[in-house]
């Protein structure tokens, strides 16, 4: 317990302040609603607290948070209980969620298959190069480039023209 609590100091507050928007936005892109995005964001930071990770620099920190968030978001719907049950909180959340308008482009990105969402997010939002994305996702660079091309094609069809 003491180990976990060691991080609840100024360092963690600063760390949270610095990164919570990034993690929340990423989780929201992957999850169905705000409640799930919040849950997922919490899990990412709990992992930081309980794992005693040491980040060498800000780039390392952001990379770790991005990969961890993506992995947690992907793992989450695998829980059979999640598939079967909608909690009362979530059920209450749905009308609220529908009431708040979401950007049209974001809506389309959210509906993309996960493999395309990964590359679109990392390439266009986080500005990583295809080689870096390949290393982060454990995929060959050529696969990443193919996914990017296919994702652009999908977006072009659904939204309109897409400049390289």
């Amino acid at each position: 317990m003491s180990e976990a609590l060691q991080h609840t100091d100024e360092w963690f507050e600063e760390f949270y302040e610095r990164n919570y928007k990034l993690v929340y936005r990423l989780c929201f892109t992957y999850m169905k609603n705000r409640a799930e995005a919040e849950d997922c964001t919490e899990d990412v930071f709990v992992k930081v607290l309980t794992g005693n990770f040491v980040f060498n620099h800000e780039t390392h920190e952001k990379k770790w948070l991005t990969v961890t968030s993506i992995n947690l978001c992907k793992d989450r719907p695998k829980h059979w209980w999640k598939k079967q049950v909608t909690s009362i909180d979530e059920a209450n959340e749905i009308p609220e969620e529908n009431a708040a308008p979401i950007d049209e482009t974001l809506e389309v990105v959210k509906k993309l298959p996960t493999k395309y969402k990964d590359v679109i997010y990392l390439y266009y939002y986080m500005d990583y190069k295809t080689e870096e994305i390949a290393a982060m996702l454990n995929k060959p660079p050529s696969t990443v480039r193919n996914h990017l091309r296919e994702a652009r094609e999908l977006l072009r069809r659904q939204i309109g023209g897409f400049e390289q």
Binding site: L5, Y24, T29, V46, L106, Y124, Y125, F162
Partner: protein
């Protein structure tokens, strides 16, 4: 549509009012719970490892010992006929098999 459109779309995502503080509180709470549960998890892991590796190894060892003992017993030379054991037959294994 340019790649800036995606950036702007994702940047437009903002958490609800008070969500930041709520999440922070939940994180601390979850981390405490995780730390409290850490010890039993370790014990469970040890028990699982024991069942997975030590138990089968012990069973294999027992079977090996029984097998070797049985083999050694069966391959012990026996003398047929009479002579060594005199007296009641039941003392000599019914007279069928006599160990030297």
């Amino acid at each position: 549509m340019s790649d800036n459109t995606i950036r702007k779309a994702i940047d437009s995502v903002e958490s609800e009012n008070g969500a930041k503080e709520r999440m922070y509180r939940n994180i601390i709470k979850k981390a405490r719970q995780a730390a409290l549960e850490e010890e039993p998890v370790e014990q469970k892991k040890k028990a699982a490892l024991f069942v997975r590796y030590a138990l089968p190894a012990a069973v294999c060892l027992c079977l090996l010992v029984i097998g070797v003992a049985r083999f050694a017993y069966e391959s012990t030379p026996v003398q047929a006929g009479r002579g060594i054991c005199s007296g009641r037959q039941s003392f000599c294994g019914g007279g069928k098999r006599r160990r030297l």
